[in-house]
């Protein structure tokens, strides 16, 4: 009944919901991420073992945490899209994929920049690093599979299946530091125990994770709108929107 009731209203409403939430998430996300980064970079105490190099943690960990969360979110969206045939869900999946890919890329780059002074190498083919690289390829795979199909409903299904199959990589990433001998250190905060970190270091870290999450959410809202416009190019409400937008920019 749902599907029958809202086939037209749904994307339009989602678009406007995104529009309403976008400024809040953007401003809040930017504020939190800046605050946490400055705190982590300039005010947090130094590490007794790694001295100032440990400050890379304030982007490496948030980006790594977000890469996994975004993948989970993308896979959930894919699952909903496949099971309940919700096309908005596939749009959400495709809005999340580029953000996830970027964040995973950042986690790899910062990991390399941290590995060089601490392990003496930019890259090593060990379990954690390799599984994280596979995560990046999974994101890119979902994006390119979606782009390969002309029919976007088909594309959503194919990319969705790939996203769901790739979920197997998430526990591998998480437990890779326990299952295999690896250069990478074990979990610091994401474990069922007290975090092994002093609070003056932990707070900016938790805040920067929050900041990254908010910024990712803001970019997601923006990309979600783009996906909706792209799929609904000929709908009257999109055309009205474009007209209004054009007259607004002319007025400036």
């Amino acid at each position: 009944m749902w599907k029958w009731l809202h086939p037209y209203a749904k994307t339009e409403r989602t678009y406007h919901l995104c529009q309403r939430l976008l400024p809040w998430f953007s401003v809040l996300g930017l504020a939190v991420i800046l605050f946490a980064t400055v705190w982590g970079l300039a005010y947090a105490p130094t590490d007794y073992q790694q001295s100032e190099a440990y400050r890379i943690i304030y982007i490496h960990v948030p980006s790594a945490v977000l890469s996994k969360s975004l993948y989970s979110a993308m896979a959930i969206a894919a699952f909903i899209g496949l099971v309940w045939q919700v096309k908005t869900s596939f749009m959400a999946m495709m809005a999340l994929a580029p953000i996830g890919a970027t964040v995973t890329f950042v986690s790899l780059v910062t990991g390399a920049a941290w590995g060089k002074p601490m392990w003496g190498t930019w890259w090593e083919w060990d379990a954690r690093l390799t599984s994280q690289l596979i995560l990046l390829f999974l994101f890119l795979g979902v994006i390119s599979l979606y782009k390969a199909f002309e029919d976007k409903q088909q594309a959503g299904k194919a990319a969705g299946v790939m996203a769901i199959v790739g979920v197997i990589n998430l526990p591998i990433i998480h437990y890779s530091v326990e299952w295999w001998n690896t250069l990478h250190q074990g979990a610091t905060i994401m474990k069922f125990d007290k975090p092994s970190m002093p609070t003056e270091m932990l707070w900016p870290l938790l805040l920067s994770i929050l900041g990254w999450a908010l910024v990712s959410a803001a970019i997601f809202l923006l990309r979600m709108q783009n996906e909706i416009i792209q799929r609904e190019l000929r709908r009257p409400w999109v055309q009205n929107l474009a007209n209004k937008n054009a007259s607004l920019s002319e007025g400036k």
């Binding site: 130094t46 953000i99 970027t102 950042v106 941290w114 060089k116 002074p117 190019l233």
Partner: protein, 83 residues
């Protein structure tokens, strides 16, 4: 503030290159992603407009040719009658 002055802040205890490389790469990546999202929205909206204009033009052309055809047949008919 944990650091004494700006140069020790930039130096990061000798790890400046790695720390600033990480933060720079992260900022740049997020910025590129955001710019891409922002500008593709503008591109899409202009695309909607051009498509709209194109559709209007096609419609107008179709109407014009339809009226032209109509008048042509009407002319033929009147020609036929006069002859």
């Amino acid at each position: 503030m944990h650091f004494e002055d700006i140069s020790s802040f930039l130096d990061m205890g000798g790890y400046g290159l790695y720390v600033w490389l990480s933060f720079g790469a992260a900022t740049l990546s997020l910025l590129v992603l955001w710019l891409d999202s922002f500008f593709s929205k503008r591109t899409l909206l202009t695309q909607v407009l051009t498509e709209q204009i194109r559709q209007a033009r096609i419609k107008a052309a179709a109407e014009q040719s339809a009226t032209a055809q109509q008048s042509a047949t009407a002319e033929q008919r009147t020609n036929g009658e006069t002859i």
